[in-house]
Symmetry: C2
Amino acid sequence: MKIAILPGDGIGPEIVEQAVKVLNALDEPFEMETAPVGGAGYEASGHPLPEATLKLALEADAVLFGAVGDWKYDTLDRPLRPEQAILGLRKNLKLFANLRPAIMYPELAGASTLKPEVVSGLDILIIRELTGDIYFGQPRGVRVCPDGPFKGEREGFDTMRYAESEIRRIAHVAFQAAQKRDKRLTSVDKANVLETFQFWKDIVTEVHKEYPDVALDHMYVDNAAMQLVRAPKKFDVIVTGNMFGDILSDQASMLTGSIGMLPSASLDANNKGLYEPSHGSAPDIAGKGVANPLATILSAAMMLRYSLNKAEQADRIENAVKKVLAQGLRTPDIYEAGTTKVGTGEMGQAVLQAL
Amino acid sequence: MKIAILPGDGIGPEIVEQAVKVLNALDEPFEMETAPVGGAGYEASGHPLPEATLKLALEADAVLFGAVGDWKYDTLDRPLRPEQAILGLRKNLKLFANLRPAIMYPELAGASTLKPEVVSGLDILIIRELTGDIYFGQPRGVRVCPDGPFKGEREGFDTMRYAESEIRRIAHVAFQAAQKRDKRLTSVDKANVLETFQFWKDIVTEVHKEYPDVALDHMYVDNAAMQLVRAPKKFDVIVTGNMFGDILSDQASMLTGSIGMLPSASLDANNKGLYEPSHGSAPDIAGKGVANPLATILSAAMMLRYSLNKAEQADRIENAVKKVLAQGLRTPDIYEAGTTKVGTGEMGQAVLQAL
Ligand SMILES: CC(C)[C@H](C(=O)O)[C@@H](O)C(=O)O
Ligand SMILES: CC(C)[C@H](C(=O)O)[C@@H](O)C(=O)O
């Protein structure tokens, strides 16, 4: 089995290094090949998603991704900016289902800005559609406004859209995920304003008929943003579109106060996937050896479970992470008085030992 | 001066009644006229925004609005549903600037789900563009997908768009609001993905040249949703589009834990405005006399300040509200042990007395 390793920019390389060490320690016959992506891709060959990198990702059985982005690329034209690599990988690999758990580790309860009683035991799964919506809809651009009150002026515009089968397939993923959990699914939309999301709501309601054991409710996105602050533990699984999912999954991960702990998976129809930490490239701390590698290590565990059919090995890694937390080891982002502060490499080493 | 009073549905009538009592007590020569809106409009004349109601709102110098919506209208066709009245009023009255303060009253610090140190003293102002964006963009609907991988299938679609002058005018409102506060403005966009918001960012940056005394920064909407959880006090004024503003302003108001306290203003180019509480119609508690009228009373204060040029009277009302909080009076939504629980009418009466 072949794994494409795409470290990317900022803290990407150092956190991916730790995850690779952990994967190597499993004694599985994984073939791993590394390629540059994001700013590193641009430096290497003038494009954030070099052809060879895309080819490797297409051939591989799974992709382990670090993070991309650095302020120094902010002045590049949009198509050359690091984050275009993410969009390109999602589109080309048809990774339509993004799974983002927001889990509160009991040892890290203090890290949240929310009161302990509001978030302790938090365990939600946000499923974000990842290849449709306004992210890729055409037409888009800047044009002379063709009619209406602003006729003749310049205007920026984009197209939001979802086809029936796109909604169906993500709904199936969501209902099936809910079946494996507490059997409650909240579909987040803005059906009171948007045609796209009235259509979304109708199709999700239809698909629900195939999953009578799952309780489905519908919630407007503005209300969802409120309920995630007010009573986040009421949610089990949330499914929503690409744009709303971008916002809500980041909001939800911040509720835990320890985004450095949260992995993510982006899957295609055959469970091939790209795995990456939920946090970004943090160029401000890159190279200092202080970044938290656990979200990336846990992303590798998700990869073993979803794409490589190695659930036992995934469990082993997840248990090892729990063990190092119980031992009191903390990178600076999750450090609290009374625990032991360690660096990126030490944390990786500790997970290895705990395996 | 003429004020249109639109109580609406659910708790709307009972909370607006208290605000009207307070306005009457000011001894100003206000002419007030009441008309049905939302579900009440539909009941009265088959449309959520009856013609006579719209005419009244257009003629008036300001509109005091309660809330609209009730589950019993959920099965109506979209154009007949209560919330269409809000959209219709915004569009017809050209209320492009929505001002939503998220303020933490010291007496209510305990109400928040966030830790006191994270939210105590919170005072942010969210300025949401209210007549553009994907809310009103054309074309929209459900169609047979014309091309691409889903050709031939049904798809829902909408158009996001902002013309240059729409962005300019809301940017001016935002910079001027920041000048009256801590002189810091955060423009929230998704310029890394959307053409509309790259254009937004460019125009806001241009308008900034006219306000060199205001510090401007740009933030992606997903990051803004995170920072509102992580460190909300870092914000002063936030300006954003209609869709992102819908989500972020609701999220921000929930940070305080006391959305029953938060007013809002929606202004046109001449400071004519519609004023309404930030919370909804809460049909579950309607008619029980337990709803919190303070957000509506504070909305009336905003109306005096922004549309009716009566800043002193606005101050009087705001001080009266502070006084009743200091007296320990609380409606059930903000009740805590050690305070005195009161109903909607008693709370209104207490504000009257404190005037
Ligand atoms: C970098 C950006 C294009 C991306 C997105 O908006 O999807 C990021 O925010 C994410 O959520 O992975
Ligand atoms: C009811 C709905 C159309 C409305 C909106 O989305 O603007 C509401 O959520 C609001 O924020 O006033």
